[in-house]
């Protein structure tokens, strides 16, 4: 790394993607939310939301549960303990980067 370039802390690439960050922000403000609410809040299409949820589930940041409700399957999504911790760390890192950039 060149000497004059500031050494910013590394950010979590899984969380840093805007669509995934929006999903995690919604889930951090509630206990759990269904697929329709996540779609309404984030404005993502069904396919895109589904892909992002799979990615977050694989990373262990969220838990997806499918429950039967009045003959239909409802997808309930919840932030895991690890997800809460990593999201909190992410915002802390972003704040540090912002402070560092402001100081330079």
């Amino acid at each position: 790394m060149p000497e004059n370039q500031p050494a910013f802390p590394a950010v979590d690439r899984v969380i840093h993607e805007p669509a995934r960050l929006a999903i995690l922000t919604v889930l951090s403000a509630c206990e759990s939310a269904d697929f329709t609410f996540l779609q309404s809040a984030t404005g993502l299409s069904k396919g895109n939301l589904s892909v992002q949820l799979t990615r977050l589930d694989e990373a262990g940041l969220i838990s997806v549960e499918r429950v039967l409700h009045r003959k239909t399957t409802r997808t309930s999504v919840e932030l895991t303990r690890r997800g809460k911790q990593q999201l909190s760390d992410y915002w802390f890192t972003m704040k540090k980067i912002q402070e560092q950039a402001g100081a330079d």
């Binding site: 269904d34 329709t36 396919g47 895109n48």
Partner: protein
């Protein structure tokens, strides 16, 4: 409003923004008031039976509407389980909240000493317009509720100073609460973006 703030506010206050759930209560209140006023002006006697039927009908319509509105919101915007600790996470009320509360306490003591019932409408206005004092709300919601609170308090003051009956206060209350409910519903629509058509 920043996107992080928008998402957090929308999720935390989703059920509060479902403003049209109580619309029949306020519309029904106004209709009952307008139906009752000519009888009141002519000093007609209205039996308890008619009053009970009218109120029972209003509550039945409200219950039915509440169920319909709830399923509309669930189908249109989805469902969520609120954070059980959301009240603890809310920002503490500011100085303005304490000034209003202390003024109301002073007013309550005055009303108690002078044996007047004029205190209740102000307290009701204070509790019904709590979003004014909550800094987590977007400015537009705080201003709307602030204007609503001011109008409710002004109608109560007008009724009290001009020795009018409670009809003006009650009509203002119903109109304003209906308006605030519609405003909340519009805010909910504004906070939910149009769904992205293209799949990634």
């Amino acid at each position: 409003m920043h996107d992080r703030e928008r998402l957090t506010f929308l999720t935390r206050y989703y059920y509060d923004l479902q403003g049209v759930r109580f619309a029949p209560l306020w519309i029904g209140g106004l209709l009952l008031l307008f139906a009752w006023m000519p009888h009141y002006a002519h000093r007609d006697h209205i039996g308890w039976g008619a009053v009970c039927y009218a109120l029972g009908g209003l509550l039945a319509v409200q219950a039915l509407w509440y169920w319909v509105a709830k399923s509309y919101y669930r189908r249109r915007f989805g469902w969520l389980k609120p954070d059980p600790y959301r009240f603890a996470k809310q920002q503490r009320p500011g100085l303005f909240w304490w000034i209003v509360l202390l003024s109301l306490t002073g007013w309550a003591i005055y009303c108690r000493v002078h044996r007047t019932g004029a205190f209740l409408p102000y307290m009701l206005a204070f509790f019904m317009t709590q979003p004014v004092y909550n800094a987590e709300n977007p400015p537009i919601r705080r201003i709307t509720y602030g204007v609503g609170a001011g109008l409710i308090a002004a109608s109560a003051l007008l009724s009290w100073t001009m020795n009018l009956d409670g009809a003006i206060y009650f009509a203002s209350l119903c109109f304003i609460m209906l308006g605030l409910g519609i405003a909340d519903h519009l805010l909910l629509l504004g906070l939910t973006p149009a769904r992205d058509g293209a799949d990634a």
